[in-house]
């Protein structure tokens, strides 16, 4: 039996023994490698490795031994991953050991973010022109270039488009894109591992640094200080820095004054939310990139409903295209409307029996207490039956619980009410209309 087959057997058994959550969280991410001396398990990180080692490794070794015809199997666990095909490459090739740390790697540019794939509109005209200038003449045109605007308006796209243009003109240039959150996290890690000098060298030797969402530096003094020195070193060497933030530099309360004034020493440009026509153009362009023609009326329908940011527009578009593909439906306003519901609707708390009783009582102009009462008069009994049927349809309460909520009635009464209303709704238009009206009121 090959070792992976042995591991698969072990997996099968562990899946039986552990809860689904435990199994999926701690066992599934492990990869097994067959070695002459035994089995080496690879965990995605140190945390998972330590957790497995402490809680499950003994049992794993026991099971592997049992499946290897009772012979003892040596089991090792360490951090690492087996590179497979096009999967993201592990930091260290093949297998890494816990003793070897993953090297500090700077963020790469995303080749999808180019000026060609960017949609120009009034809201981003100036920022786009500035970014293009910087891409053509890094270090000379505007340094630093500070782009600010709300979430999801395309700041990252423009910044990376400038970076990609620089790279196109100078393929050997070392250009890094890094999110501020990542800068902070990497710096903390570098401090923990006594690698701060390496961290500094890495950043200060760049030809261009693109740093996104600088507002993440607010209140983080040590990161600000480190960034200040990096920033100065790059600027002095006439190397390009592009910064983005969700607000104007002077509004970055909690960021040191000297840093704020340096941010404003180049060019500061804003990006506003895209106007309707730009949103439509973005949707149509993105659809084209996916190989689909989006009908203009659908693009307008979506663009009118999603105003605030481009990421949401993209999410909506992906969903609409997928819905068309998986359901075989044409891309029209109806399909778009259904798809957008999932993206935009607010799921209120679950409908409760109390809420149903209140709504039904209001609808039929009776009191809630009538629904609880013993009264069998038709004006009360029919609404009560409707309310019971709605409770069964819209809540997960058991029938005895529903009966209790209607003045302590038996579950068979609830069952009778449900059948009665279903029967009436199929014969009587008025009952059907009432029921559907109430259903709509309660669920929208």
């Amino acid at each position: 039996m090959t070792q992976p087959a042995l591991w698969n057997k072990c997996l099968g058994r562990l899946e039986e023994e552990l809860s689904a959550q435990q199994f999926n969280t701690w066992i599934r991410p492990l990869q097994a490698v067959q070695e002459r001396e035994g089995v080496r398990l690879l965990a995605p990180n140190r945390f998972v490795m330590d957790w497995v080692k402490e809680r499950f490794l003994g049992r794993i070794a026991e099971l592997l031994g049992e499946y290897a015809n009772g012979g003892g199997v040596n089991v090792l666990i360490e951090v690492g991953s087996q590179g497979r095909g096009t999967a993201p490459p592990p930091a260290v090739s093949h297998v890494s050991s816990p003793a070897r740390k993953r090297p500090l790697v700077l963020g790469r540019l995303n080749p999808d973010f180019t000026f060609e794939s960017h949609v120009e509109g009034k809201s981003n005209q100036l920022a786009r022109a500035a970014a293009k200038q910087v891409g053509e003449n890094p270090g000379r045109a505007y340094n630093p270039l500070f782009i600010y605007g709300g979430v999801g308006l395309g700041k990252t796209h423009l910044m990376q488009a400038a970076g990609n243009l620089m790279q196109q003109h100078n393929p050997t240039a070392s250009i890094a894109y890094v999110h501020s959150e990542r800068f902070v996290a990497d710096m903390v890690k570098a401090l923990q591992h006594n690698a701060i000098n390496k961290f500094k060298r890495l950043y200060r030797n760049l030809d261009a640094l693109l740093i996104d969402d600088i507002q993440f530096f607010v209140g983080k003094e040590r990161s600000q200080e480190e960034f200040f020195h990096t920033f100065n070193a790059l600027l002095e060497g006439q190397r390009q820095v592009i910064i983005t933030a969700d607000r104007f530099p002077k509004e970055l309360v909690g960021v040191e004054e000297r840093l704020v004034s340096r941010f404003g020493s180049g060019l500061t440009v804003s990006i506003d939310p895209p106007e309707l026509e730009t949103r439509v153009a973005i949707l149509m362009k993105k659809a084209k990139q996916e190989g689909t023609e989006l009908p203009e009326e659908v693009a307008f329908f979506v663009a009118k409903r999603i105003r605030s940011n481009v990421r949401e527009l993209e999410g909506a578009l992906r969903r609409i295209l997928a819905s068309a593909f998986f359901t075989g439906s044409p891309i029209d306003v109806g399909l778009a409307s259904d798809s957008l519901k999932d993206l935009l609707t607010f799921q209120d708390r679950l409908v409760t029996v109390n809420n149903i009783q209140k709504t039904v009582a209001e609808y039929y102009k009776i009191r809630v207490s009538d629904l609880h009462s013993k009264s069998r008069s038709r004006q009360v009994a029919r609404p009560r039956q409707v309310a019971m049927a709605l409770s069964k349809e819209l809540t997960n309460y058991s029938l005895p619980e529903i009966g209790d909520a209607f003045g302590g009635r038996d579950h068979t009464t609830v069952l009778h009410a449900c059948r009665k209303i279903a029967d009436l709704a199929s014969k009587d238009a008025r009952t059907k209309e009432d029921y559907n009206n109430l259903l709509r009121i309660l669920t929208t």
Partner: protein
């Protein structure tokens, strides 16, 4: 002693796409399968996928099914139940961008958390850069999760967002019988209806009940009838 024996002999209900009753959630299931298939590859495919819905609509089931499918295709996925985030630290997210598929369950549970939100945001960024796939699930859509970081909300909604719809009673009946069959249990339609009419009807409670029935029936060696279920209390 008998109960102990019964426990060891039980079949577990491991989550897979095959034992998920899709009903109105057919499209999301098919799309999710395709996304998992593409995870780690160079071909198109979704990089971000978001599921939301009421408790018991099958979010965790689908995430775990996605992990199973990925593993069957040779990808070791990462599954992080954020409802348990207090039990472990954000270190669980470190280096996972080297994994092609990361599933984040119960994202709503970290809403407002000043440590977890940036850490998940950071993970989304790293995963995007590494061209990996993130499948996340929560109680509401990304806009309404109550996150303090709008940057995180927009990233979670960058790909397709699907609401999972609860099953109606007829579908629940089918789900109970499917789950029972997978466990090797014989449950008649009459018994299934009795269960639906007498017990809380959310799927989680129904499946928990099924497990109790299975255990009791195995321990007592009795057929599953209405009087038997009534006897469980």
């Amino acid at each position: 002693m008998n109960a102990q024996l019964a426990l060891n002999l039980q079949l577990k209900d491991s989550s897979s796409f095959d034992n998920f009753l899709p009903a109105r959630n057919r499209e999301v299931m098919d799309h999710l399968r395709a996304a998992v298939e593409a995870a780690g590859g160079n071909a198109g495919g979704e990089r971000m996928f978001f599921l939301w819905g009421e408790p018991g609509t099958g979010k965790s089931h689908l995430l775990q099914a996605a992990c199973r499918q990925a593993q069957e295709h040779g990808v070791a996925p990462v599954y992080i139940p954020l409802a348990n985030s207090t039990e472990f630290s954000t270190a669980i997210l470190e280096d996972v961008e080297h994994v092609p598929l990361v599933c984040l369950d119960d994202v709503d549970r970290i809403a407002g958390d000043v440590v977890w939100e940036p850490a998940v945001f950071n993970l989304c960024e790293r995963q995007r850069e590494a061209r990996g796939t993130v499948i996340a699930a929560g109680a509401a859509n990304p806009k309404h999760l109550g996150l303090r970081m709008p940057e995180l909300a927009t990233r979670l909604g960058w790909g397709p967002v699907y609401q999972l719809h609860a099953l109606n009673d007829a579908e629940k009946l089918a789900a109970i019988r499917l789950r029972a069959r997978n466990r090797g249990l014989e449950i008649t339609e009459e018994v299934s209806r009795y269960i639906l009419d007498r017990y809380p009807r959310d799927l989680r409670s129904l499946f928990d009940l099924l497990e109790r029935i299975d255990r009791a029936s195995l321990a007592s060696q009795r057929r599953i009838t209405i009087p038997f279920i009534r006897g469980l209390g």
